[in-house]
């Protein structure tokens, strides 16, 4: 098998799995259908690992560039399989595999879900490797449609509206993407990144206003998928109301793959660096603003969803610097976030299902409730603890390593302090969420209220435990061997090996400071005025028109800034 065919396997294997699963759906149940669906899932989520392993030597040798099926480069679809593609594929497959395992226990189930899920996994690999503008459009549309369907599959009315809003705002953004594509095709006559770059360099004005405005359109349309400020508004509802397994993959993987695809694209465009820097600054603001909103939430899953926005802010901040070392830090945090946020969504989702309430202020005695649902070894509780300690960036877990790596990039600037404050608020917010493990309040009608809304007969089955166990051990392993992981990622991204290790005295001291400050913020947030402020933040008006206007405002600001640089 040639290099270019091998490089397409992470895309085609999940699709082959989806085809099998679709056939299983057509058979309408029965043992044969189940066997088909299972083998589809195996082919789609397990076999790509073998393809990735086979690609590793080629990636280390510098990666491969090719056009699909060997068509002429002028019109065919260019692909690039390099270290970044490989890493983003690893991120996608890890998140997708673990979340799928969980879905086998706690739903959604059925061949249709498996089909759409595998298609999404395939589109993630497609997005990671594409080097063609129109192909990127197609990839983003597949990712989008699969997400809308998966969010709606929870069958909650709120989820339908969340899916509709997400669909409407991101489809509107995709029309802007097409305008951007139109602009580049008009001045360059080609769609491949390399072709566009070469043609723009040859032009006397480098494309002029068309190129600038087109860059803004493309970047803004993709930024909406990443949910960076100000275009994050669709995410909390969609991620909070989706089924838990879907939340895990949406938050863990789906908001990151487009970001790295955007980074690849902007690397070829003349004003790409400026666009990345601007979006990176927005990322810092996102990290801080979103965590404040998260701290004010009372719905456990919505709290987690806002944390996803905040954490992606960290990733975007580092990504915006553009240098390979910064990209390595961004990827590390993206990867670790996929692990610990996936873990948090799955464990908190299990707890809220078992308890029947998602209200952080009411839910108490989670450990006992879990025990009743078949979690005898406190596995879900331990999984939650690992996830929470990771996102709080406490040693020796993985969040500690990646957040410090990002902080190191900004040493001394305002960004450093903004991210530090965001870290403290994260600690506070998870202290608040962890209160669900406090013993049930005496006199509170815990049992009566709890059992009423709980999922009838929720049994925490083997696959659910297995998926949490896998994610938790990966969190611990990548934390303990943080330096080795960082070195490997740096090598794949062509970055110089990092100077110091993760576990330095300065970093440990910083973790202590963050913890202390976080505890103080937690105290403030739980006080009477703090709770009143939280309710005010929660109740702020959020409308669909606001979502679109935020996108348009962001687009206009980006365009104006790029025009000024140009």
């Amino acid at each position: 098998m040639s290099d270019s065919e091998l490089a397409m396997l992470p895309v085609f294997l999940p699709l082959a799995g989806a085809a099998l699963s679709l056939l299983a759906k057509a058979l309408h149940g029965g043992a044969k259908a189940r066997a088909l669906e299972d083998s589809g899932a195996f082919i789609g989520l397990a076999l790509p690992w073998a393809a990735l392993a086979a690609m590793l030597p080629r990636v280390l040798a510098g990666g491969v560039s090719f056009t699909v099926s060997g068509w002429s480069g002028a019109i065919g679809i260019a692909q690039r399989f390099d270290g970044l593609t490989w890493l983003v594929d690893v991120l996608g497959l890890t998140g997708a595999g673990a979340a799928y395992l969980y879905s086998r226990g706690n739903g959604p189930k059925g061949p249709l879900f498996t089909t759409v899920y595998l298609i999404q996994a395939s589109a993630l690999a497609m997005t990671a490797a594409t080097a063609d503008l129109f192909n990127l459009f197609v990839c983003l549309e597949i990712l989008g449609l699969a997400s809308y369907v998966l969010v709606a599959s929870s069958e909650k009315p709120g989820a339908f509206l969340a899916a509709f809003s997400y669909l409407a705002v991101s489809s509107a953004a995709m029309v802007f993407f097409l305008f951007g594509l139109f602009g580049f095709y008009r001045v360059t006559g080609t769609l491949s990144y390399e072709g566009i770059q070469a043609a723009l360099v040859a032009l006397p004005d480098g494309g002029g206003a068309i190129a600038t405005m087109s860059t803004a359109c493309l970047a803004a349309a993709i930024a909406i998928r990443v949910a960076v400020m100000p275009v994050y508004g669709w995410l909390p509802d969609a991620h909070a109301l989706a089924p838990h397994a879907v939340s895990a993959i949406l938050s863990g993987v789906l908001i990151k793959t487009p970001l790295f695809a955007l980074g690849r694209l902007l690397g070829y465009l003349p004003s790409g660096q400026e666009a990345m820097a601007l979006i990176g600054s927005a990322g810092v603001v996102t990290a801080l603003a979103a965590v404040v909103v998260a701290l004010s939430q009372k719905d456990a899953k919505r709290l987690l969803a806002y944390h996803s926005i905040s954490q992606i802010g960290y990733v975007v901040a580092a990504w915006g610097l553009g240098a390979p070392a910064a990209m390595a830090a961004a990827f590390l945090h993206a990867f670790y976030h996929a692990l610990f946020k996936g873990l948090l969504f799955l464990s908190v989702g299990t707890i809220t299902d078992a308890a029947g309430t998602r209200n952080v202020y009411e839910l108490r005695g989670a450990a006992g409730t879990l025990g009743k649902s078949g979690d005898r070894f406190r596995l879900v509780g331990v999984a939650y603890a690992v996830g929470a300690l990771s996102i709080m960036a406490l040693p020796p877990l993985n969040g500690f390593a990646s957040k410090n790596a990002i902080g190191y990039l900004f040493k001394g600037g305002w960004r450093y302090w903004a991210l530090f404050a965001a870290g403290a608020c994260t600690v506070a917010s998870f202290l608040k969420l962890s209160m669900i493990f406090l013993p049930a309040r005496r006199g509170a009608p815990a049992d009566a209220a709890g059992v009423a809304g709980s999922v009838p007969g929720l049994r925490i089955g083997g696959t659910m435990k297995a998926s949490m166990l896998i994610l938790a051990s990966l969190c611990v392993a990548t934390g303990l061997f943080a330096d080795a992981t960082t070195a490997a990622v740096s090598r794949l991204l062509g970055a110089p090996p990092p100077a110091g290790g993760a576990f330095t005295a300065a970093n440990l001291l910083k973790a202590l400071q963050t913890l202390a400050l976080g505890a103080a913020v937690f105290g403030l947030a739980m006080s009477k005025p703090g709770k009143r402020l939280a309710a005010a933040i929660r109740g702020r008006p959020r409308s669909f028109a606001g979502l679109v206007m935020a996108f348009l405002g962001g687009l206009a600001v980006l365009a104006a800034a790029l025009a000024r640089f140009g």
Binding site: E5, A19, K25, A26, S69, S72, I119, M549, L552
Partner: protein, 254 residues
């Protein structure tokens, strides 16, 4: 009320002007449209793909990978819609004949039932033509598939309760079950044909078969993968769209 209207008008105006400020330089520019890609395809397109319809040469040849993505988008949207329609609680009950209970309501007359039933074979034939000749004339899998779906819908309408041109659901080949099997197999076919190298392999196979039969199949061989893709996509689109419509007519509850 008045204030709300004013506010909404102002929002709309603001949205449109923000967007137009960014888009105007892109749309209004006077840069000449590039000709290089057109010239390349006009010169090499036929030799490379065997299709005289250059649009087909692009979307089923040079950029067939995009078309695979497009097929997937369609699959996800249709399958998602079917699932969402099917899981609606309290959908109106259907009568035992597999037609909607209100099929005798306004707009559902014997005339429609008869004509739909009689038109169906003609529409199916036309759909097949559009699907098969996409490589040489305007048309192709997507367009033909939608026409095919119309044919199936005509059959479904024609066989509604009391319809004179009614075909019994038990003997029709176009029930939801058959449609979803066709859809799955057609999708697998499109997928197999899209994998790098399989198009060339198919062309080689056609050429070898032609040679062993003593026929020079050169031109046919080159365009073979495009025709095969058109058939696969046509069946996929046709069965998918038809499935959604038959479900909406209540055919899943036969």
């Amino acid at each position: 009320m008045r204030r709300g209207k004013l506010l909404s008008a102002a929002t709309g105006l603001a949205a449109a002007s923000l967007a137009l400020a960014v888009l105007a330089p892109v749309v209004m520019s006077d840069v000449d449209w590039p000709t290089a890609a057109r010239d390349t395809i006009a010169a090499d397109g036929y030799a490379a793909t065997g299709a005289t319809n250059l649009v087909s040469a692009i979307y089923l040849g040079y950029r067939a990978f995009d078309t695979l993505g497009e097929t997937i988008v369609l699959l996800v949207a249709l399958a998602g819609s079917v699932a969402l329609v099917a899981s609606t609680p309290g959908r109106p009950d259907l009568d035992r004949d597999g037609g909607p209970a209100d099929s005798r309501g306004p707009g559902h007359t014997d005339i429609i039932n008869v004509i739909a039933g009689k038109l169906a074979p003609i529409v199916l034939l036309f759909g097949t033509y559009v699907m098969l000749y996409g490589h040489t004339s305007p048309g192709g899998g997507f367009q033909g598939g939608v026409v095919l779906a119309s044919g199936v819908i005509f059959i479904a309408i024609g066989r509604r309760a009391g319809g004179i041109g009614r075909i019994s659901p038990s003997i029709t080949a176009f029930g939801p079950r058959t449609l979803s099997v066709i859809e799955a197999i057609a999708f697998a076919t499109v997928l197999a044909l899209s994998f790098p190298g399989s198009g060339a392999a198919l062309a080689g196979l056609i050429e070898a078969t032609g040679a062993s039969a003593g026929v020079a199949a050169k031109g046919v061989a080159a365009v073979g993968p495009i025709i095969a893709l058109n058939i696969g996509i046509g069946l996929k689109v046709g069965s998918g769209v038809a499935l959604l419509c038959v479900m909406m007519l209540g055919g899943d509850q036969e």
